[in-house]
């Protein structure tokens, strides 16, 4: 069984999962803390609609998904900025609309329905060399930009009003974050599919939140969560012959439940070691 894991397609698949997961895990920290993880979910479905329409019209699905998700990301940012309608309402409407458009496009593109289906649940084992290259460039670009502007993203997440007063261009960084989310969702589309993209962007960050007292800690733990879940999910999916993305999603969800149980925040302690001491002392009493 282990021989299978050394096959080139398996190595490519593992790299693809780790790359797309890492970009999502880092983006997720800011999206979750800003209460915008639902925008991530909506963008994932818009990307699916873009890919499905592209298949129907003969365009490259990645290009179609990227264009449509970028347009949506910028529109949702504009809606949030204007504040005339609650962001949640705009997202809800566009979420439903994009999913309906995607379903319609998939049904109309019957010769390509299988390809479209891959964008819904992902197909990590089917990633080609070219796709891996595109995916690597996009993921590394997202990770690079986040690393470059981590300070600015931290400031606008903690205190947008104060950041603006200090002269930071809050508007620019807010839109940049949405653009990065859109790119990350398009990367995820090919690897884990639109459905599990939501898990990739939200769960590692939420798990990390339970153990973090700073953005840096949260970023590291979020990255580690996705790394461990991806490798574990990969091994389990190969052993049990199950879809990799779905297994990674289940492992992430189990990880979330465990994190709630072990949360240093809920136990009001400063580290997991201190938390274990508190629990042990409680049991001794």
């Amino acid at each position: 069984m282990l021989e299978v894991l050394t096959q080139p397609f398996m190595i490519k698949a593992l790299i693809a999962v780790i790359l797309s997961g890492s970009a999502s895990a880092l983006i997720g920290v800011y999206m979750v803390l800003r209460g915008l993880s639902s925008i991530g979910a909506a963008i994932a479905h818009v990307a699916l609609a873009g890919a499905a329409i592209s298949l129907l019209t003969g365009l490259d699905p990645v290009v179609g998904a990227l264009i449509l998700s970028l347009v949506f990301a910028l529109l949702s940012g504009y809606g949030e900025e204007k504040g005339e309608v609650k962001a949640d309402m705009t997202i809800g409407v566009l979420f439903g609309f994009s999913t309906a458009v995607a379903a319609l496009a998939i049904s109309l593109s019957s010769p390509y329905a299988a390809s479209a289906w891959r964008f819904l649940i992902g197909d990590v084992l089917g990633v080609t060399d070219n796709e891996l290259l595109v995916l690597a460039v996009m993921s590394l670009a997202v990770i690079g930009v986040i690393t470059l502007f981590k300070m600015e993203f931290k400031y606008i997440t903690f205190d947008p009003e104060g950041s603006s007063a200090m002269g930071l261009n809050v508007r620019f960084y807010r839109y940049l974050l949405l653009v990065l989310t859109a790119v990350s969702m398009v990367v995820n589309l090919r690897v884990v599919g639109s459905i599990l993209s939501v898990a990739f962007i939200a769960i590692p960050a939420v798990v990390a939140y339970q153990f973090s007292h700073s953005f840096e800690e949260m970023g590291k733990i979020s990255f580690l969560t996705i790394l461990i879940s991806s490798i574990l999910g990969f091994l389990v999916s190969v052993m049990l012959n199950l879809p990799t993305s779905a297994v990674v999603g289940v492992i992430l969800s189990v990880g979330y439940l465990i994190s709630i149980k072990l949360s240093v925040k809920r136990r009001k302690c400063k580290s997991i070691i201190q938390c274990f001491r508190v629990v042990r002392e409680h049991h001794i009493k």
Binding site: L33, F158, D159, E161, A165, M166, S212
Partner: protein, 248 residues
Amino acid sequence: MVLNQQPILEDLSFSIVEPSFVAVVGPNGAGKTTLLKTMLGIIKPVEGEIRVLGRNPVEDPGVRRLVGYVPQRERIDPLIPVLVKDIILMGRLAKKRFPRRATSEDLEKARQVARLLEVDQFWEESYAHLSGGQQQRVLVARALASEPSLLLLDEPFSAVDTPTTQLLVRLLRELVDKSGVTIILVTHEINVLLKHIDRLMLLNRRIIAFGKPDEVLDEALLTETFLKRVQVVASDGERIVTGVSYHA
């Protein structure tokens, strides 16, 4: 000033001599925060012009680098995981150019204001672990870390303990006297400030009165500001304002 198509402040005309300690009081919805945001250039006046440190903050946003701002603490999510040292350093780094690296001077200055505000012992702590008063002191330390010429504070005494209020009032007065910083403070806690401020502004959509506290502290003017009867009583030789309600 207009916000969401609603006029918030009208017929505003005043100037402040540097350095001064100015308090702005008025009921909720009087436009106090809008006034501060206009001074920062975040809100554009529909008519007229505002000059802050001799510069127009709308046309020249660079002036914000000379201004320290303490927003209302309630507007910041206290559950966001961020360390005290990161918040205080933010005051300096956000005003620097990219890549905003902290130098030893930045760290030294940040530590210095942390000691001044008595939050140095929380340097490596999470902001979320602090009490309301401690969080407020961290936010003031952040504003002071940038060594501003003008300091704007929005409700700094809201829901904070008495020792923090006393520490802040004493410290702000020292800043005006020793460092020449001009302070404009929006507050509900008028009584704790009366002995310490140079000017008092009564605001309710327009300036009702602006001048030395002794001149402005008039029952008729206060009643006009708060739209209900406000009394000024003498106690131990000090004047105390009673009956102030912030819900006009």
